[in-house]
Each structure stands twice: as C-alpha cells, then as structure tokens.
Point group: C2
C-alpha cells in the first residue's frame, strides 16, 4: 500500500503520522517549542519513517495558503511568540521529497471527519474546535473553504453582557471576540482554573451560551449540514448538551429544520475520530497532494 | 436569441423580466400584496411576454430549496403576513411551461453580480442587502451556497451595547439580531424616520457599527473574496465609507490581507448592477435551468 504523511501542526503540540488511513498510522507527538526545534523533530520523524507519496500539513494560523503567493506555506501573523512569518512547508518538503498540501489545522480535521468520521458524504459542514484557542473550517460545496485567506471562526464578535460577565476577554487583537471569551485560555484566565479542573456549573452554562452564539452565527452565514464540535474544552461532559440546548433556544424556530429542533443531537456532534481528526485529515491532504501530481 | 425569464420575488415588491441579459430586459414591477394577487400578476406578465427557455425565481424567505423535499418551491416560515407556506414555483411554472430554478433573492443577486457586475470571476464572495430586512448569500467554491437550508445573514447575533443603544430590536424571532438592530425597519422604528429621510450623523455611525460587526462575522466564517453591499439603506451616501472604516478597525490587522486594510474600498463595494442585481441574477438562474434540461 502506498503510504502518506501527515502533520497536525498545532499551537500546543504537533502530531506527525505515516500510514494509509486511521487504522494503520505510525505516529509521534511533541510539544510546539521553537520553530527550528519543532520542525527539526518533524523532519527527523519523516526521515526515519521511510518513503511517502505525499505529505499533508494542517497548521495553526493565520497561514498563507494561496499558491500564487511567495509566502505560500508560511504561518503569517500568529500571536504565538516566535512563530510569526515562519516557513513551515519548506523544511518538511525537503525532508520528505514528496508533494506537499498545506491547509489550516481545522480544515484538515474537517477532511478527516468527512472521509472517515462523523461527516461522511456531506459537502457543506463545519469542524469547530474549542481548545487553547477556537477555530473552525470545513468544506463548502465539496471543497475546503479558503476564500480571501481562510475562515477564522474564533474571531467573530458575539453579544457580551458585561453585567453578567465583566471579563474583558483574552484575545490580543480583539479582546472579547468568541475566542477571547470562550477559549480554554479564556476559561483559565477568567476562572483561575484549567478547563479540566473547572466544575462550577455556572461557568459551563456561560461557556455554552457563548459557544452557542458562535454556532448560531456560523449557521446564519454558512448554513452547514452538520457541525462537528471538538477540542479539549469539550471533554467536559456537561458542555455539549448545554451547547445544543442553547443553539436550539437561540435559533427559536426561525429556520424550519428539524436539525435546529428535535434533531439537534444529530446536528451538533462530537468528532468520530476523537483527538485524531486533525492528523487523519492531514494524511488525507497528503493523499490528495500525491494524487494531484499523478494526474 | 433564446430568451429567459426572471422573478425577483421580494418582500416589498416583485420585479419580473424577460430577456437575455442586463441590456435587453423587458421588465415589470408591482408591490407584494397577497400571494394570489402577486403570483397572478407575475403569471400574467409571462403569459403576455412570449416563450422563454427557462425561468429563474429569487425569493424572499426562508424558502425550501432542497429538490428532494415535497415542499420544494415554497416560502416556508416567513414572518410576512399571509405568505407562510406559500407555493411560489407551481403557479409560475404553469404560466411559463419551462424549467424553473428556485433560490433565495440574495443568491440570485449574487449570481447577477458574478456574471455581469462587481464580482466577475470570483468563486467565493457575498452579496449583502440592507433593505426592509437584511439578507446575504453568494457562491462558495463556485456554487451558490445552500447547505442545511440557505444562509440567513440577517439573523446572526452581534454585540449590542444597551447603554449606548437601548433599542430592543424589531426581529419577531430574535429581537436584537443584526436584522433586528440594523434593517431599514429597525431604523424606522428606532428613529421614527425612514432611512431616506434620516440625517442624524449619530444614527448613521451606529448603523455602520452594526453592519460592520455583521460583515466582520461574515469574514470570520466564510472568508469571502469580496463583499457586494447593496439595498435601499445603502442609498445614504455617508454609510458605505463608514462601514468600510468600521470593518477595518474591527479586523484590527489580525488577518494579513490588504483587503482588510488599505484595500478595503475595493473589498466592500456597491453592486455594479444597482437595483437590478436580483432580477438580472434571476434571469441567470433561468438560463441555468434551461441548460440543465438541455444537457
């Protein structure tokens, strides 16, 4: 079987894999430190893993993914220290000597869920992750959505009642955008506890309210056929049911769709691949990169 | 030349046309009264206008546009009195005896601007209209976006500072959603003046702020290559420059794109077809309906 490579290049950790699909992946994982060290570890993994026909990279961002740009393959304006204007693709391409596809981490995760997970057969849907930050992406009319640059769901503006929640938000660019109010980092700063240690029901009710406002906006703009909602913050088991109930209440019957009413449990779903959506999707990007060269 | 028919079925007025493109249209226009009267006038126009190869209908909504649904061709849950659950397509199809394409009024307007106007050559962009209500649509990856049902830009939630603006909003479903705060109807109720008579600079600054919040959310979710911004409320000449300035300020350099900085004047643009985007796009839907049958 032809093998492909994948990199889930996250802001907190990277996962590298070689294989043909979710069931036979050889993987390694390491924290995101400096660009030189992190890219070096990824390149060493692929050098040791043997030949692949194509490599897919799903990266945190913002990134440059217009092939016509001289900056293609770079992380651009990220607030992450040390990673601004970093060429991610070139060192990896040199290590694997195979065609490389480059996309956002969330588009890669959506592709993984589309081909192997909770969104099989769908042409317009979203993958939304709530972890250290908040991101979202996915295909629209069958192809991963890029447009002007790429979606940045986390930076939409949502209602913020400062009487109920005076927290100013943590986004260095926008303060109280969705990511600024509801990311794992926002939870940590607001409550003084990491999401996995936070057990105040009021905190999770507020979190669900913000995430539901964000999802209602995604539904208003993109009209996804399904929303796959993942990321570390969703490991709190009370959160997903609260998000669904809040979305249903906010939608308020305006659009006549069972998915926004009694069928909401099948509309907003966890990733079927769990934590592996991103790296499985990166492998799929690698498969597509190999295919695009071969035709 | 083969002629096509188009209907811009708006909530305030309908425009019907026969022709081949923007330069040779024979049109008629009448107010949206009852379904029977309005559909009857449209049918009479087409009966008198002679044969067409296909008819396109761009309708206010929400509408049912899934071909697999028995309710295809209907306006569904609209708050407009008398128009809930109205079959729009059947009476028109009977009058023209030609294939019919059915889409939202804003998707039709986007198609008009894509083929003949301000968005030529673009595959992912939005048309946003601010009139009695607020709507938005357009193609994503080349095809008009439908997804679960269809986009409903007007019903996204945006920050609403009740200290600055205590107005509760006019949306019967959501109160202070974007349409509830910033539609022409919201202006009329809040200020006691129709948009064309409103000359309070503070009112227009607030309006621009809300519209910019909505557009920043559209940019975060859909990443359009351009935004065509039309509708009656934009006839106020101070508004578009204010919207552009607010979008630029809200984006705040997070995405490294000239379109959200110095190039914003070419990114958020008025419709090149003026008030005719919708009916010209409906003609294009009619062209596509004829083509889909002929292949």
């Amino acid at each position: 079987m032809t093998a492909y490579g994948g990199v889930e290049a996250g802001g907190t950790k990277w996962v590298c894999a070689v294989g043909t699909g979710p069931d036979d992946l050889e993987t390694t994982s390491f924290p995101t430190t400096t660009p030189a060290e992190t890219l070096g570890r990824a390149a060493a993994f692929f050098a040791a893993a043997g030949p692949i026909a194509g490599l897919g990279v799903g990266s945190f961002g913002p990134i440059e993914l217009r092939r016509s740009s001289p900056a293609w393959g770079r992380i651009t304006t990220t607030p992450k220290a040390g990673w601004g204007d970093t060429d991610v693709v070139s060192p990896l391409a040199e290590a694997v000597r195979a065609p490389v596809a480059f996309d956002t981490d969330v588009n890669a995760a959506a592709l993984g869920e589309q081909r192997w997970g909770a969104a099989r057969g769908l042409e317009t849907f979203c993958y939304v992750t709530v972890g250290t930050g908040i991101g979202g992406g996915g295909p629209a009319n069958g192809a991963l959505l890029h447009g002007l640059r790429h979606p940045e769901f986390g930076h939409m503006r949502i209602p913020h009642d400062r009487a109920r929640d005076p927290f100013p938000g943590v986004c260095p660019y926008h303060g109280d955008c969705l990511e600024g109010l509801a990311s794992g980092e926002a939870l940590r700063v607001r409550w003084g506890a990491r999401a996995e240690e936070l057990d105040d029901p009021g905190a999770w009710e507020l979190e669900a309210h913000y995430l539901a406002l964000g999802l209602v906006n995604v539904i208003s703009v993109l009209s996804p056929e399904r929303i796959v909602l993942g990321g570390g913050v969703l490991k709190n088991e009370t959160l997903l049911p609260l998000v669904r109930a809040n979305v249903r209440e906010l939608a308020h019957g305006y659009i006549d769709a069972v998915e926004l009413g009694d069928g909401v449990d099948a509309y907003i779903v966890p990733p079927a691949l769990g934590d592996r959506s991103g790296v499985v999707g990166a492998i799929e990007l690698g498969r597509d990169a190999a295919h695009m060269i071969s035709i």
